[in-house]
């Protein structure tokens, strides 16, 4: 019994020792340097591979953080605690970032905007936008409502309500994917602290805006006159001055004649007034009424 134990222990230990020595030897002899920091940082990143940081996935970003000194706060999905940890690993101070959110500057849901045609094709904004006229709505500037942005959002923050994209700010991590995908360039990242927005993007002649939509911004500039510090013109559009955004109560103060200036939550609610229908599986084939 004792002998068995001794011999086996000896054999196992010897094998272990030999193998260990072999590994140690090869490892030493053929050592290749890699930076363990990169892996450490990669571990800390969320692993969503959303690309919001502008790199090809989390691994790439991790190596950029370590080797090129990229700013970890470029990852919008990272919590502050994580950023602090990354800073610890890399030995750099964590950048501070203001919480941003995406806003869709349109209020033309299906029931609140005029239609120009029966669109019959791929239910995707980018695909619709390459068809003459682009989608069924009359407004050339508004939301097509086919949800390219919602599909692009890695965090499920965008919902299509009655043919209008609305952002849920609590889910939005400001990765900017939707901004790039929207063919109508309707989405911008703005500070999440701003409670109200001008939900219109039309550069049409004001008369036409009225014809096409129930809540257009007519560029009457009433709001700008009310307070020039909070509101401004940007490239022909009335916009909130996001470096100095007004309070929610500003909306009542201004009494926007069309309701294009709206509190975010109310806007979202209005969009939901029409019950959300399950997304159709097939493109709505136009009904062939008469003459069939």
């Amino acid at each position: 019994m004792l002998i068995t134990i001794l011999v086996s222990a000896g054999v196992v230990a010897a094998v272990g020792l030999i193998l260990g020595a072999l590994i140690g030897f090869t490892a030493k002899k053929f050592e290749v340097q890699t930076d363990p920091k990169i892996e450490a940082v990669q571990e800390l990143l969320p692993g969503a591979n959303c690309g919001g940081c502008g790199y090809a996935g989390c691994a790439d970003f991790a190596s950029a953080i370590v080797t090129k000194g990229a700013d970890p706060s470029g990852c919008s999905a990272c919590s502050d605690a994580m950023l602090a940890k990354i800073a610890e690993v890399t030995g750099k101070a964590a950048g501070k970032k203001e919480k941003m959110t995406a806003v869709v500057f349109c209020s033309g849901s299906f029931s609140r905007s005029a239609r120009a045609a029966d669109y019959n094709g791929i239910l995707d904004c980018r695909s619709a936008s390459i068809v003459a006229g682009g989608g069924g709505k009359a407004c050339r500037f508004g939301c097509l409502g086919y949800g390219s942005c919602a599909r692009a959002c890695p965090f499920g923050a965008i919902e299509i309500r009655d043919g209008l994209a609305v952002v849920h700010p609590e889910l939005c991590r400001a990765c900017g994917k939707c901004v790039n995908v929207c063919p109508r360039k309707l989405i911008r990242l703005v500070p999440a602290s701003a409670p109200i927005h001008v939900y219109c993007n039309s550069l049409e002649k004001p008369a036409k805006r009225r014809k096409f939509c129930k809540n257009p911004c007519l560029a009457c500039k009433k709001c700008i006159r009310t307070d020039e510090n909070h509101m401004q013109m940007q490239a022909g559009l009335v916009r909130v001055n996001y470096s100095n955004p007004p309070e929610a109560s500003f909306v009542e103060q201004v009494k926007c004649p069309t309701g294009a200036l709206q509190v975010e939550e109310i806007h979202r609610k209005i969009a939901a007034l029409k019950p959300v229908e399950p997304a159709p599986k097939a493109a709505p084939a136009p009904k062939k009424e008469e003459s069939k």
Partner: protein, 202 residues
């Protein structure tokens, strides 16, 4: 060892008792590294290589250490209980050494294969092949052939699976079925079809 035996071993290990589809070994890399055909091929290469080598080395240990009884001072010492420990340690060490060498001498191959190597250490198919060899008391050559063909069988299953998964990636799979769930169902149907090969080697 004659050609017939080799044929029986290889056909058996590749088709009839395919490691993945019939013996259910090595599911982790099977599910994990089958998203693209290219990576699947890389993984298959790595597995075939490691499995062949590991089968040989473990067979060596089995033959000269584990199944030997030594008589010391009149007591018979049977070391067979050390088999599991020795095998896993040997395989782990082997993979590490291969990895280090690859990293040094063929960085390009390392980039394409290296990432899979650690996964192979704990791939139960490698240890499984070694255990099966030991259980069947195969000799050195048979063991190596078996290891190689088991690896090929793994590669075949992985390739087929990766090929389907490329199609699954663009199919409109119900949300709940996405990912591992549909992969398992696919593997099930594939395994079922492979049962058609039963009886090829008797």
């Amino acid at each position: 060892m004659d050609t017939n035996e080799i044929l029986v071993l290889t056909v058996g290990a590749i088709l009839v008792n395919n490691v993945v589809l019939s013996r259910i070994l090595g599911i982790c890399p099977f599910l994990g590294v089958s998203k693209r055909i290219e990576t699947a091929l890389g993984m298959s290469g790595a597995v075939i290589f490691v499995m062949t080598l590991a089968s040989f080395v473990t067979a060596l240990f089995n033959r000269f250490l584990v199944t030997q009884t030594f008589t010391i001072n009149g007591t018979e010492v049977d070391l067979s209980f050390t088999r599991i420990l020795l095998f896993i340690v040997v395989i782990a060490a082997l993979v590490q050494i291969v990895e280090i060498l690859l990293k040094k001498f063929s960085p390009s191959l390392y980039v394409s294969l290296g990432i899979y190597l650690p996964l192979i250490t704990t791939n139960c198919a490698v240890l499984g092949a070694a255990e099966l060899n030991a259980d069947a008391s195969r000799g050195l050559i048979s063991s190596t052939v078996f290891g190689f063909s088991t690896g090929v069988g793994f590669g075949l299953a992985l390739l087929l699976f990766a090929s389907i998964r490329e199609r699954l990636a663009i199919a409109r799979i119900p949300k709940a079925m996405e990912g591992t769930a549909i992969a398992l169902v696919t593997a099930g149907i594939l395994a079922m079809a492979f049962m058609g090969f039963s009886g090829l080697v008797k």
